[in-house]
């Protein structure tokens, strides 16, 4: 019987056993990920976005400079015609060229050309990285499904799965990007209307209506994209497991998600809770050594001891990152695969039925109700 707890517990065991998948997990996560591949990476990304805020004083509370500094030319230039601020003769200050005249000839053309070149290079390597990630997805999801079904596999099987399915994963990736962009259109239209109304001051009632509509559209975009994340998790596995065309895979993803939305949410939140705690636990030795190093620095201990403990902390920290990152990601991959297989089981009442035809039929005729 499926339960979120047993799913995650089993995933931890399987992820440790199948270290070969760690390599692919890193490649999928390292490349341009079209779909947040796991919860933990999402958390890391969101935490990175937080920037420290500098406390600023409002302009009206700053102390007045009036009367303190007089930078008028007659006050800055001394009697012997020397600029007090710049420390050079006033004639030289007056003779100084403006900033724009210091720029070399054709500066703008050169800057634009170099920028275009850099953009070209970035696009090229991004495409290569994206394709690499797509290839690794084929191998990874094939491996996850085989491991969950206790089937044997080796490097070659995973490589062949990557080679055989990369086009379908690419299509699905593009389809997801397209869907995500499409979901922004209502918000952009309403936002554009709202901006126009505000700029042209067409009436407060209209501003209010469009403001509320914009807010609803924003909430809808967020909810839709969160649901797309769940659909993505199912669709990525469905490509290998169901072997159907891309669009049908996407639709199957929706179908799987809608069958067990509660379990998807539960798993999502459980992973969001368990994985950071697990990460924190495995990083405890590093944190402890880091703390000891800081303490020794504070106590002005010998340089050798500080260096030794600091070095040890660094090595252990690096090893922990190297092991925990792919492990945690693989655990997440296994958890979603378990849920996928559990959801899929409820569809497999008639295994001989063509999944595409099955999907487009009403549930009643498929014997599900």
């Amino acid at each position: 019987m499926y339960s979120t707890f047993s799913n995650i517990r089993e995933s931890f065991k399987l992820a440790w056993k199948h270290k070969m998948l760690w390599i692919l997990v890193m490649l999928v996560g390292g490349g341009f990920s079209f779909n947040a591949s796991n919860v933990s990476s999402g958390i890391e990304k969101s935490s990175q976005k937080e920037t420290p805020q500098i406390e600023t004083n409002p302009a009206n509370k700053l102390p007045s400079l009036e009367g303190k500094y007089n930078l008028s030319p007659e006050n800055v230039v001394t009697d012997n015609n020397v600029n007090k601020v710049l420390g050079i003769a006033q004639e030289r200050v007056e003779a100084m060229p403006s900033v724009s005249s210091l720029l070399p000839k054709n500066f703008n053309s050169a800057a634009v050309t170099i920028f275009m070149l850099a953009l070209l290079v970035i696009i090229f390597w991004s495409i290569v990285s994206f394709l690499t990630s797509v290839w690794a997805s084929g191998g990874l999801y094939s491996g996850l499904l085989k491991a969950c079904n206790s089937e044997a596999y080796d490097f070659k099987d995973l490589g062949n799965a990557g080679k055989g399915n990369w086009k379908r994963y690419l299509k699905l990736a593009i389809y997801f990007i397209y869907k995500r962009l499409l979901s922004l259109i209502p918000f952009l239209i309403i936002g554009g209307g709202f901006a126009t109304v505000v700029v042209w001051r067409l009436g407060s009632v209209l501003i209010g209506i469009l403001g509320v509509a914009g807010l609803i559209a924003l909430v809808w975009v967020l909810i839709y994209n969160i649901r797309l994340y769940f659909v993505g998790e199912f669709a990525l596995r469905s490509i290998i497991a169901d072997n159907v065309p891309t669009k049908a895979t996407f639709n199957l993803g929706w179908k799987y998600y809608k069958t067990r939305p509660g379990k998807s949410l539960k798993l999502f939140f459980a992973l969001m809770f368990v994985l950071p705690i697990f990460t924190l636990i495995v990083f405890l030795p590093t944190l402890l050594l880091g703390g000891i190093t800081a303490f020794l620095v504070n106590q002005e201990a010998s340089f050798f001891i500080i260096g030794l403990i600091g070095f040890l902390a660094g090595v252990i920290g690096l090893a922990t990152i190297l092991v925990s990152t792919p492990y945690v990601r693989t655990v997440s991959g296994f958890s979603w695969t378990h849920l996928f297989l559990f959801t899929k089981e409820s569809f497999e009442i008639k295994p001989d039925v063509d999944p595409v035809a099955f999907m487009y039929k009403p549930e009643e005729s498929n014997g599900q109700i």
Partner: protein, 191 residues
């Protein structure tokens, strides 16, 4: 090609070093020369110097790696390896013993190398494991690197290119760079 033995990681490393050296010479020499010319032109006459002269060094720096990528891809599937590998008499073959197809060559160069480079290059060191001499990218893509002859030309090329590179750098520093640094110039002339 079954009669040929799989190449060891040391020989593969030297072939890789030779490829790196070739890439460096192809990128570094033109880059340093055109950059030097641009800088020299600036010092000679800052007021008439055109910023467009730095576009060429940037083009070399940005575009040659992409060209090298396509060169490696083409050579790998067409001749069974890059120039470094060919000179060391190594060939990359698939499980049937023939040269790889374009797709496999592409995946080997992109996803394959990325796989082996992960975990601090553990995938390359994997070739020391057992007696198969197979890296992760070989295992994932069912390829292997075989020895088809003596590596003597590769070793000669490696030594010669090292000498060329060192000579060029010494020449560049002594003959071109140091006199330029010693020149008393005024980059921003003030009237």
């Amino acid at each position: 090609m079954d009669k040929y033995k799989t190449a060891g990681i040391v020989r593969r490393y030297f072939a890789y070093a030779l490829d790196c050296l070739i890439s460096m010479l192809v990128v570094l020499i033109p880059f340093l020369l055109v950059t030097f010319n641009a800088v020299k032109g600036y010092f000679a006459s800052p007021s008439t110097w055109s910023a467009l002269s730095v576009v060429l060094p940037f083009s070399i720096l940005f575009l040659i790696p992409i060209l090298m990528f396509f060169y490696s891809w083409y050579f790998t599937h067409k001749f069974g390896g890059t120039i470094g590998k060919l000179l060391f008499r190594l060939r990359i073959v698939d499980e049937n013993g023939s040269y790889m197809d374009k797709t496999t060559a592409f995946w080997r160069m992109t996803a394959g190398y990325a796989l082996s480079s992960s975990f601090f290059g553990l995938g390359y060191l994997w070739a020391f494991r057992k007696k198969e001499d197979l890296t992760w990218h070989d295992r994932f893509l069912s390829t292997r690197v075989i020895r088809v002859g003596s590596p003597v030309w590769g070793i000669i090329a490696l030594i010669l290119l090292k000498i060329v590179l060192i000579t060029f750098i010494v020449y560049f520093v002594i003959t071109l760079l140091l006199p330029l640094v010693g020149t008393n110039t005024q980059p921003f002339p003030i009237a």
